[in-house]
């Protein structure tokens, strides 16, 4: 089996720094190369995000199979669940679960909502969607390939539940970008 972080303390710290900046500045692409040898099927950024955040206290859903699934179970110690709605973290390596199907938290405890980590094909912040909201001075741009065609529609619906809602981390290779529930996506027509 492939190893986890070569240094668990500083690996997790630099992984978290990327995740915190990604959540604080939606759509700004962060480098996350703390994990040097991810298992087959997992992007370094997505695998590092799981190692940084998931543990025995966080039910985890993933569609990863075989060695990648074993790697996640072994290195995070998180209980793997079959039911999407029961997971605190979700890692989608192929088809993303519908945003409405995951735990959105409650109005009093919106922090109990799930965080969805999605492996996508590419991320590019030079053009594409126009993102606005907290964390964004004027607007950020983001192009994502590899998301469902109706993602922007699902996202708009997710925003209507605020303060409930799912937060998304998009990962491609060693890069990641955050979409907290507050971010508004406008598609260029």
């Amino acid at each position: 089996m492939k190893p986890g972080f070569s240094d668990p303390v500083f690996g997790a710290q630099s992984g978290f720094a990327a995740l915190m900046n990604a959540m604080a500045r939606p759509g700004r692409i962060q480098d996350c190369n703390a994990l040097h040898e991810p298992p087959p099927g997992l992007d370094p950024a997505a695998a590092a995000a799981l190692l940084t955040l998931a543990d025995a206290e966080t039910p985890l859903w993933t569609d990863a199979e075989g060695e990648a699934r074993d790697w996640i179970a072994f290195h995070t110690g998180a209980p793997l669940v079959e039911d999407v709605a029961r997971a605190q973290f979700l890692l989608a390596t192929r088809a993303m679960p519908a945003l409405a199907s995951v735990d959105l938290g409650t109005d009093e405890t919106p922090q109990d909502s799930a965080t969805l980590i999605v492996q996508v094909a590419t991320l590019d912040d030079a053009s594409g969607w126009r993102l606005t909201g907290p964390g964004i001075q004027h607007e950020h741009r983001l192009t994502v390939t590899g998301l469902p065609a109706d993602f922007a529609v699902q996202w708009a619906r997710n925003r209507t539940h605020f303060p409930r809602g799912v937060d998304v981390v998009l990962c491609a290779g060693t890069r990641l970008a955050g979409l907290p529930r507050t971010t508004r996506i406008t598609e260029d027509r």
């Binding site: 500045r25 543990d55 206290e57 109005d107 001075q137 907290p180």
Partner: protein, 285 residues
């Protein structure tokens, strides 16, 4: 991110930055959700720290969870780098994390603060960590936490507005010169921690990440960069940040926040900058 310094050796007495990794993960998860829901208080399992509640245990735990080996830490207490609380916390992290510390706002990547925001404008690379004694802005108006949670869920802040109305009706102005509640991103009422009202406008659309940690009350909350933060007020009584109408005796600044100091036994007073780094910068030509 290669070639991390080998500070986390079995020979050292503590894990890097004191907290164990499981605790850091728990705090980190809370910080990410706090950034996703600006102004919303998130409960966390605050640990016992090697200093008493009320001395910044919440801020220290947040700092420990985000701190990396390349960070440069500044700690201020009421704007000053040289007070007991600031000196102790700086020394604590220098010891348990071996990181660089500074008193200069411009050089710091993390600034832990008790009750002030530096005068020098913050930048995108900086994180402010506030020590919070009482995170609940409705605390004096509604003592039941279960009820305040419900009011936050409903966005019902009429209690705070009535309190502000009564203050203005009785005294002609808001009754709070510090810890004046703010609305974050138009949704959550938030305690800015006991910073003076003078500092409230610095929370609005700041380029820096603002994290708040309350150790005794076990809550974490956050304001992301470039987020609207408005002091609670009325259209016909807009919020006015207050400042002593004097110049600093040391540097002559007429724009910085001032501390009043009794200078003799004849009732004499002088005023000096509360932000010691800002004052020193002003004095060096």
């Amino acid at each position: 991110m290669n070639a991390m310094p080998p500070r986390n050796t079995p020979g050292s007495a503590y894990n890097f930055a004191y907290l164990d990794e499981a605790t850091k993960r728990m705090i980190r998860r809370a910080i990410l959700k706090a950034l996703a829901i600006p102004g919303h208080q998130i409960p966390f399992g605050a640990r016992e720290m090697p200093l008493p509640y009320g001395w910044g245990t919440g801020g220290i735990q947040v700092t420990a969870a985000i701190l990396g080996p390349r960070d440069v830490l500044k700690v201020i207490d009421q704007g000053a780098d040289d007070t007991t609380n600031a000196v102790s916390i700086r020394a604590f992290f220098a010891k348990v994390a071996g990181i660089a510390t500074t008193t200069r706002t411009a050089e710091a990547t993390i600034i832990q603060t008790r009750h002030r925001i530096p005068e020098r404008p913050l930048t995108e690379g900086q994180v402010m960590v506030f020590q919070v004694p009482m995170p609940e802005p409705l605390f004096r108006l509604e003592p039941r936490l279960a009820e305040t949670r419900r009011l936050h869920a409903l966005g019902d802040y009429s209690l705070a507005q009535v309190k502000l109305y009564e203050d203005i009706a009785k005294q002609g102005e808001a009754g709070t010169s510090y810890n004046h509640p703010v609305m974050v991103a138009g949704r959550y009422l938030m305690s800015p921690s006991p910073i003076p009202g003078f500092d409230n406008p610095k929370l609005h659309n700041s380029p820096a990440i603002m994290l708040f940690g309350a150790g005794r009350e076990k809550k974490i909350y956050a304001v992301p960069p470039y987020t609207a933060v408005e002091s609670l007020d009325f259209d016909d009584h807009p919020f006015r940040p207050m400042r002593a109408p004097h110049a600093c005796s040391a540097c002559g600044s007429t724009t910085s926040y001032l501390d009043e100091i009794v200078a003799d036994d004849q009732g004499g007073r002088i005023y000096v900058c509360s932000d010691t780094d800002h004052c020193r910068e002003n004095q060096t030509p």
